[in-house]
């Protein structure tokens, strides 16, 4: 083969590799994950004193930040894909409510994740340089065990006398204890989803067992009792995963 022809041949090979190699594999799927928040069946409306928990507290929500970690997509082909260390959902930041275009080789059949952090992933300054102001907003004081908040849920409630008070439902690894919760949600295995919804029914954070703002007061970071009750409440009926 002459030199010119050899060169043309190799150019053709390289071109083919680049062109066909860059095409998506036929069975490559893309999936979006949406983090949504509800009060019972209703979409969350901020800054409105209209919600009522099981014990009868009327309350509003003004600020809501929380952490999901160890988010794992379990696939039909037996693989599991664990996404980034954690996701920081902040209702003040619309961009935090969606993860877009996650590529998976096979349909997703279940989703696992943790509310909060495991103790191994929850040491002070571990996320010092992370984006979205996470370290500044979620640092949990060393005097209370260090690490990071799992959740900051803040707003107003009406006390027993109908007076407006403020509540700060802040959870984290108080005194080094692990108050995180693990979840696995199965999806319909006959479906191939392009969207997964990780929904939170915020009202159930305060239900079953009941959580009375009048009893726990405005500040619970130092209260092991309150942290435990919130953890128990988080076990069921707070998160729900679905897809379409």
């Amino acid at each position: 083969m002459g030199v010119f022809k050899k060169i043309r041949f190799f150019i053709l090979i390289i071109f083919s590799l680049v062109f066909f190699g860059s095409c998506e594999k036929e069975d490559e799927l893309q999936i979006d994950i949406h983090f949504r928040q509800f009060i019972d069946q209703n979409e969350l409306e901020l800054n409105n004193l209209i919600y009522q928990n099981e014990v009868g507290n009327i309350y509003s929500i003004e600020r809501f930040l929380y952490v999901i970690s160890d988010l794992t997509l379990n696939l039909q082909n037996g693989e599991s894909i664990t996404l980034d260390n954690y996701y920081f959902i902040n209702l003040d930041d619309e961009n935090s409510l969606k993860l877009k275009n996650i590529e998976i080789p096979s349909p997703c059949v279940s989703v696992s994740f943790k509310y909060g952090f495991s103790q191994n992933n929850n040491t002070t300054n571990l996320y010092l340089n992370d984006s979205n102001n996470f370290h500044n907003l979620m640092l949990w004081p060393i005097t209370l065990g260090g690490g990071y908040h799992y959740m900051k849920l803040e707003g107003r409630y009406l006390d027993n006398y109908g007076e407006q008070k403020f509540y700060n439902t802040h959870t984290g690894g108080l005194y080094g204890n692990d108050y995180s919760v693990n979840y696995t949600f199965d999806l319909n295995t006959t479906e191939t989803y392009s969207k997964i919804y990780i929904d939170m029914n915020i009202n159930n954070i305060y239900n079953d067992p009941i959580y009375d703002f009048n009893y726990y007061g405005s500040a619970i970071m130092s209260s092991e009792e309150a942290q435990s009750v919130i953890q128990v409440n988080m076990l069921e009926d707070v998160f729900l995963v679905s897809g379409n």
Binding site: T143, F166, S218, A219, S222
Partner: protein, 349 residues
Amino acid sequence: MKKFFIFLLLIISCHPEGDDNDFETTPYSLIYPSDVFPTMLIPEDNLLTQEGVSLGKKLFFDPILSSNNEISCASCHIQENSFSDPNQYSIGVNGDFGFRNAFSLVNIGWNSSFNWDGSASSLENQVFEPVTNPIEMANNWEQVENDLNASSEYRNLFKQAFNIDCIDSTHIAKAIAQFERTLISYNSRYDKWTRGEVMFTNEELDGLNIFTTERGDCFHCHGNINFMDNSFHNNALDENFTDLGLYEVTGNELDKGLFKTPTLRNVEFSSPYMHDGRFNTLEEVIDHYNSGGVYSPTVDPLMKYVNSNPYGIPGQTGLLLTQQEKNNLKAFLLTLSDENFIQNSNFQP
């Protein structure tokens, strides 16, 4: 013809960028403990150099930026006051008073927005407004550029720092921003305590506990190593607002009365306090928070004792700290003072 040639000469001599082949600067490395301080984010188009920082310092102290050549950045950002103003309001060129206390510049490089209302998105950006503000330097940028270009010394310094022959406002702002990023404090008594170099007194330890738990709950806004959260809050100063703060930038009703959280580093030196300098002493600040503050519709939920107290005592509001606890909190705040910073000759012209 002569005029044409002079015009041509000016055009040729004032082209923006020189030959890149021989242009070199010396990188400037910021020094701070990187295990506890986040990496300072520096724009790619304004990396720190020795030449840029030095030029920025010169400009910071030079009243040439003001219309009457009497006021510099340093006139209102005074080193011994942690680069803030000990006056409630700074006085501008025309004798006008401002309406907000000059922001302390200590560790300013770690901020993500600037000014009490967040109106500047970068340090470079922040430089522009005081120069033209009629109640501050009351100048215009064309005049500033002309004055600096008329100085062979400045032309030479800008050439060394940025390889430009014609000084413009963008590069003036860049130089000043470079200098401001070097204003770093990390050797306060608190820093030394975290490093195990000193021991806290019992009062300071209790003050730390009050600060970093919901006993005082200072940390939610003034937490982490820079004692600020890069966020905005209504900290229950007023029922009605004369200054709308963040709302002036966002137009969002929920942002009325919200102001940027300042750092508490060197707070001992940076009185008066709050966006309008209304409090002269740390005791007044502590008393404000201890009282719970004043309710307004946009008050931050973190000011949770504005209309209650931690103990459920009817009719009382605020933290209900004892006098000893307030003294201890102040003792802790004083540990944030860094004498090295306010005396550092590197920050002086």
